[in-house]
Each structure stands twice: as C-alpha cells, then as structure tokens.
Amino acid sequence: MTTFTPATSSEVLSTVQWAAAEESPLEILGHGSKRGIGRPLQTEHTLDLSKLTGVTLYEPAELVLSAKAGTPLAEIERLLAENGQQLAFEPMDCGPLLGGEPGKGTIGGVLAANLSGPRRLKAGAARDHILGINVVSGRGEAFKSGGRVVKNVTGYDLSKLMANSWGTLAVFTDVTFKVLPSAETEVTLAVRGLLDDAAAGAMALALGSSAEVSSAAHLPERIAAHVAGGALGSEAATLLRVEGFGPSVAYRIAALKTLLGKAGPLEEIAGEASRLIWRDVRDIKPFADGTEKPVWRVSMTPAQGHQMVLTLRMQAAVSAFYDWQGGLVWLRMEEGDPEAALLRGLLRKHGGGHATLVRAAPAHRAALPVFEPQPPALAALSQRLKQEFDPKNILNPGRMA
C-alpha cells in the first residue's frame, strides 16, 4: 500500500509508467473531496496529486488560466476574484453534501467530475470551459490536447473527453480553462409560496422571456429554510437570478416583476444575500445534513421534473428541490433505500435523462450503478474508448461501473 505524491509532471509520468508495467491499479486523488462518489475503489496504490500545484499562466485580458492539476480550486477562485473574474460555470463544492470539509477540491477534480452550478444552461459546465490539457494516459504516455485559445478545432477535442471521466482515462497534470468577467451586479427575484407545478409554470415563463435569467431554482416549503442561514424562512421560494451591469439588471428585474406579478408575492434579494443563496443551491445545502441518506442528481427535461417527483412520492418518501437552469432535480431518499430501479424507471417515462447517486453508503455504491447505465451499444463504445486510453485498467478501475 503506497501513496505516491508527485510534485512534477514527470514524476506523475514515471509513476504511471511503473504502474502500467506492473499492471498495478492506482486510485487517482486530488483532495479526495469527491471520493464518496462512484463505486468504492480497492486499489493497492494511490496517486495523490495534491502536491502538483501552482497557477502557471493567468492572463486576465486573454480570459485564460492554466494550472497544475492539483491546484486548489479555492486558490484559483481567489486569484480570479482579485481580478474581477470567475469560472463562470460555478463548480459546486461537494464537501458539505458528502460530509467533508468545505472549500476543498482541486482544479483537476473540477474537470474529472465535470462540475457545474446553477448557471448551467447559460454558462455551461467544466466541459464548456476547458481549453487544453496535458495528461498521462493509462498507457504511461504523456500527451496534450487543445491549447490556450477559445476557438480551436485542431484535432479531436480530447479535453472535453476528460470531463466526467472520473480519473478513468488519464491522469491530468495541467489544465487550461477559459475564464470570464464576474457580473457587476446580481439580484434575485423570489416568488413565494408556490407549489411545484405552479413554480414550474412561473420558471418556464421567466426563462422564455428576454430577461436573461441566469439561474432558476425552486425550493419547496421547508427546503427553503436550509439556504443562506435561514434568511428565506421556510415558505416555498421560486428563485430567479439576474446578473449583469446595474441598469440592465434593474430593467430586467422590473420586466420579470411585470411578467410574474400575478404568480405570487415577490421579493427582491440583492448583492451578497443573493450570492449566498445561489452558493447554497449550488452546494446542495438543503441536503447537507451530515447523514448518508441517499441523494440523487437527476438530469432531465426541466418541465417534467415535478411530475416525476409527484409520481415518485406515491411510492417512496422523498425530499426534492429543483435547479432548473442546471436542468436538475435533487432528491433525498428519506427512508435510506436509494430506490434506483424505481427512480430510473420513472425517469424513462418522463422524457428520459440520467440519475446519478451522488451520496450513498458505500454498501449501496458497491451494489448499485452509481451512474446511469448506458444502452449496450453505447456502453460497448465507452468500454472500447477506455481500452484505448487505459488498456491495463490501472486508472480508478471500476469507479464508473
């Protein structure tokens, strides 16, 4: 049982080359903040990238940042904030939900898990912002893909392929991301007291308008009490975030108020209070309860979300909230059984999508497919691809099974 802690790309390379020759599987780790997601691993050795750190290039005017894969996300976000910039896809902090420390996670982990946040539809996920990579494949070969410019179609986009690969294709050593200016002003409009179906209608109306809503979420009664330190109270809150330059935000909020005037009582929440709410929606704070009760992330066509939850409730005790601009329904199974087959069956009947068991006890994660099972032809294709990157199956073997 050895933990390797390389501090340079060439040390990563020699470690993987050794493991490939020995056919000895490695668990690939950054801070371990997402270790609880996926099938539990039982590898003899660990490759810990938390010492492979440092921002190697940051040019704010070029909207580009490169860093060693083990660089803490918090460090990068701090550096960007000092320059009025951000990772626009708002990578979630998995710590609170999974019972770990908040503020952990590396930039490599952001890509490996393809993290995103409540601005998902407008701003995309990690996959939409990654520009280039340097990695070491399971063959023990260092290769690169992409570059440092936004517009690039030179060769296959292997950078995107690394998104959501959970360390099973290659070990990242360097990543380059597109960065963007932070919004100057942020205001959230909350419609209070709506039931799920009315909230879905209000959000569809708002998102179909030209108010350029960047995030939309519905926190049902009681769930609402668990964000921003209880600032919203426990009454249901349907939240619409508007970001941009001051005059524009004021105008668009006014337009939304006219549009939604009859939907229910409206509240305006500005600045830091708004940011706190969206950070907690991003980090799934309503379900960050210190338990191992199963939590599902369900990606589906937004308009059908509440109908699926309604049907699910007839057969299982669940808490739910909706991150609409992320295209997500978040579910907590209150009785401890993940009910995977039931949920995935219902999902197929409600327009399709995929359900990921983001939190569950190790026994459940070992027994159930954590990630949505794929149809046979697609699963076979994915398997062939894995084989082309990691023929000896030494990188996080079985994690995505």
Partner: protein, 498 residues
C-alpha cells in the same frame, strides 16, 4: 499541399463498383443513388475547390435504417465512406475518394420537434443552420452559432466541424449549443448521445463527436438549444491608426468586464476591398477597423455603448461611429460580411486561412504576415474575430499563373506555423480536413497524434470512415494498441511516497 497524398485506392473495391452500386440501389431505392460521372460532378469538391475527385458512387439515404445498412454493408466489405452535409467545408473535409461511397445527408432535411417551454429543437442533420432559426423566430427565438455559410451549411456539418461564427465569444460554439445527437457507427450501430437534458452520463462522447470531421460516425439527428432573441442590438464602428491600438482596445473592453455579442477587426487591405465593393462608409485612412456589437435590453446596450466609446477614445481611435438605427447597424456589418467576395473582386483567387492566436500577439503576427507577403510576393488581407483571436488571412493569388497556388499554400502554411509559434492553433473553425492535415505535426507530437488515432480506433477500427483527413499518417489500430512495457521493466518511481 497541392501534392496531397490521399490513401491509395483499393483495387478490389474499384473492380466491384457495379456490384456495389447495384447493392446500394437495393438499400436506398428510388433516386437516392447517383453513379453517372456527369451527375456526380456536383459532388466532386466542397468549399475547398482546389481539390476535386469523383467518388465511387454517391448515395443519398432518407432514413436512419438506410444509413445504418449502408455503413454496415461497407464495413463488412472494407469499403471506405466519406460523409457529406451541404459541402461547404473550407478544409476539404468532404473531399470524395475514388474508392469511397460518398454518403450525402441532404435528404435528412426536416425539423422533427420544437419545444418552446424547454427551448430545444430536434432537427435532422441536413437542415440548414439558418433553417433552425427560421423555424423558431416567429416566437422570438434563434439558434446562436452563425457561421458565415449559415444559409447553406447543415447542422450535421456544424456538429462535424464544431462551427463558430461572429457571435461565439458570447454565445459559444456548436459544442456549447448542441444537447444531443443520434449517430450511426461504421459498423451500423445506432447510438444516442445526450438528449433534451444537459450533460449526458458517462464519457463526453458528444464533446468528442463535435468537431471530429466525419471520422467517427454519421450524425442522423441533432438536438440543439435555442435562445430568446436579444431585445436590441447596436454596433460601434471604430477606426485606429495602428493595429496595436485596435488590439489594446479589444483587451480593454474585455478587461472592463464587457463581452460583446460580436467583435470583429479588419486590416487596411480588407477595409479597402470591402469599401470598394459595398460602400459601407468605412474610413479609408485607418490601419485597423473594429466593429463592436452589443446586444441585450436597450438600457444595457446604451450603457455599454457609452463605456466602449470611452475605451475606444482612450486608445486613440480616430473615428468612432455608433449605429443609430437597425439599418445603420447592418451597414456597419455589410462590409465585414462581404469581405470574402470583396477580396475576390481584387484578386482572381484567394485562399482563406483560419488560425487562432492569443489576442495580444496580433501586432506580432500581422508584422510577420507582412514580411511573408513580401517574401512570397503575394498580397494578404486580414479579417479577424477579435474577441477570440481567430484570424482569417486571405491570401491573394492567381491560379492561372503556374506555381502561384503552390506559393499561396506555402505562404498559408507559414502563417499557420507562426500562429502555433505564438501559442495559437492551426484552425479555429474551418477544420483540419485535407488542407491542414500535413501541418498537424506543427502542433502535435507523435504521441499526441497516436492517442487521437486511438480514439478513432474505438469508433472505426478499420479506418474506413473519411480516411485521409485530419491525420497526416494513418497507423493500424492493432499497432497503435500494442504496449511495449512489461512487469519488472520499469523501476519503482523515485518520488515522495508514504
């Protein structure tokens, strides 16, 4: 590049042509198989017209089942296939091969579903890019990526090339606007990636397919997201005495946290050619002309126009016009949009390049281009997607002058080498195709290229789909798959461990 080597035609396939054509007629009955040389002439090249080749046979399937059967038939018999959308590729991605079936997707031309509440459109791959916007604009929606060929280019081709356009700095490329596809693998299997929801589970095969230039699979259905049209759009037309000042203005706009809907730059030769052609009212005494378009609610646009104007003045702009009407905004764009045909008027032929550079390197790259222009004795005009660093140098030449095409191509290759040298890339949006294929080693070493080819092996292990494109040298998948190290041959790594 004129001496482009394509894969050696397979004699067995050429000999069996009659039998293959007959079998194709069984799979695709009716008018869907074209084998007469004069009728196939229309398909002999794409937008890169310097290269022409008649295919073995042209097949225009109408159903997914037909696509699947054609591919399986060819896979089983080791017959090459070149897929084609509308044939607007500027890099020869749809250039036929003598021994390959040309699979033309133009009859897949229907919009299958429009879902306004979820803001998605499902289209067949032969629908044009503009056709999607046309289908939804009565409700105030549009499809954001807008390559300049949007009136003709197909959405399936957009997926194959990861097409951009002038608005992609703010609204993203095809890859950021496609939610899902259905595709057929070379073995005939039909797979769906993504769908009407976000982020397909598992590996991001959709991300790899987008921009794969028809080498991995044939797209048979595309799901895209649509956006609400901005309330208003206005533009500024700004002239600078030097390209350095124009470049600094772009950097300062972005530095102020402003991401314009479009930001385009033209150099002196391009400005003059465009002005002579469309009389857009461009200033002729400037070295760099910048068009900055701001879109959104009127109040936001007004706010940002003021901010951008101040930035322009602080960078020494000599002219700055602000559009006061929709007509005036369109007139600002008229010259830029007509830049290619305008250059076509001043030169018998032109060759359009497509490198991307870090924006700050613009003055250095323009200076380098001027030197190369003198060295080769050929003129060059530049249009530039200034926001994202994507350059389109237009090299002026005359194909009727012996050797001039070769010179233009060498000039183009040198420009792309320069782009790579300053930290940029060979192609921003036109694709590698056959055009930049042999330049790939400028950007990638053999290990990089081998890994890309291994991805190809997972999709098409016999290299039957669109061979001769993208990769300078094809290597057999069995050879690529081999590993050369074994137990006990590599020392235990000497690095910190516990």
């Amino acid at each position: 590049m004129s001496g482009l080597a394509m894969p050696k035609p397979d004699d067995a396939t050429l000999r069996r042509r009659d039998e293959i054509v007959a079998d194709m007629r069984i799979i695709v009955p009716g008018e869907g198989v074209v084998d007469a040389a004069n009728a196939m002439r229309a398909f002999e090249s794409d937008g890169l017209t310097a290269y022409r080749q008649l295919p073995l046979v042209v097949v225009l399937p109408e159903t997914v089942a037909q696509v699947s059967r054609v591919l399986k038939y060819c896979n089983d018999r080791n017959i090459r296939v070149v897929p084609r959308g509308s044939g607007t590729s500027l890099s020869g991605g749809a250039l036929p091969l003598e021994d390959a079936v040309l699979l033309v997707m133009s009859r897949f031309n229907r919009i299958l579903a429009i879902d306004f509440p979820n803001r998605i459109v499902v289209a067949q791959p032969g629908v044009t890019n503009l056709g999607i916007t046309t289908a939804v604009e009565q409700e105030g929606f549009y499809y954001a990526p807008d390559p300049s060929s949007q009136i003709a280019c197909s959405i399936g081709g957009n997926v194959a090339e990861n097409s951009g356009g002038v608005h992609c700095l703010k609204y993203g490329l095809t890859a950021n606007n496609v939610l899902g596809i259905e595709m057929v693998l070379m073995n005939g299997e039909v797979v769906r990636l993504g769908g009407s929801h976000l982020d397909a589970e598992g590996y991001d095969l959709l991300g790899v397919m987008t921009g794969s230039e028809g080498l991995l699979g044939v797209v048979t259905e595309v799901t895209v997201r649509i956006l609400k049209k901005p309330e208003t759009a206005r533009a500024l037309l700004i002239g600078f005495p030097t390209s350095e000042q124009g470049g600094q203005c772009v950097a300062d706009i972005i530095g102020a946290g402003i991401i314009p809907g479009g930001m385009e730059m033209m150099d002196r030769p391009a400005i003059h050619a465009a002005e002579d052609f469309v009389h857009a009212g461009y200033p002729l005494d400037v070295e760099a002309l910048l068009i900055v378009e701001l879109d959104g609610p009127g109040v936001e646009v007004d706010h940002l126009i003021t901010a951008v104007e101040a930035i322009a003045i602080s960078n020494g702009s000599t002219t700055c016009r602000i559009s006061q009407s929709e007509q005036e905004r369109l007139s600002f764009w008229a010259g830029r949009k007509a830049a290619f045909p305008a250059v076509g008027r001043i030169s018998p032929d032109y060759y359009c390049m497509d490198g991307t550079i870090p924006r700050k390197e613009l003055p250095r790259v323009l200076a380098g281009m001027r030197e190369l222009s003198e060295k080769y004795g050929l003129g060059v005009a530049n249009v530039f997607h200034a926001g994202d660093g994507n350059l389109h140098p237009l090299i002026l030449y005359d194909a009727n002058v012996p050797g001039e095409l070769d010179k233009a191509e060498s000039f183009g290759a040198d420009i792309l080498r320069l782009c790579v040298k300053v930290g940029g890339v060979l192609t921003g949006e036109h694709g590698v195709g056959v055009e930049k294929r042999d330049l790939m080693p400028e950007m990638f070493n053999q290990v990089d290229l081998d890994q890309q080819m291994r991805v190809k092996c997972a999709f098409d292990p016999n290299h039957l789909l669109n061979p001769g494109k993208v990769f300078p040298q094809l290597r057999r998948c069995a050879e690529l798959g081999r590993m050369h190290v074994h137990r006990g041959q590599v020392a235990f790594p000497d690095i910190p461990r516990f």
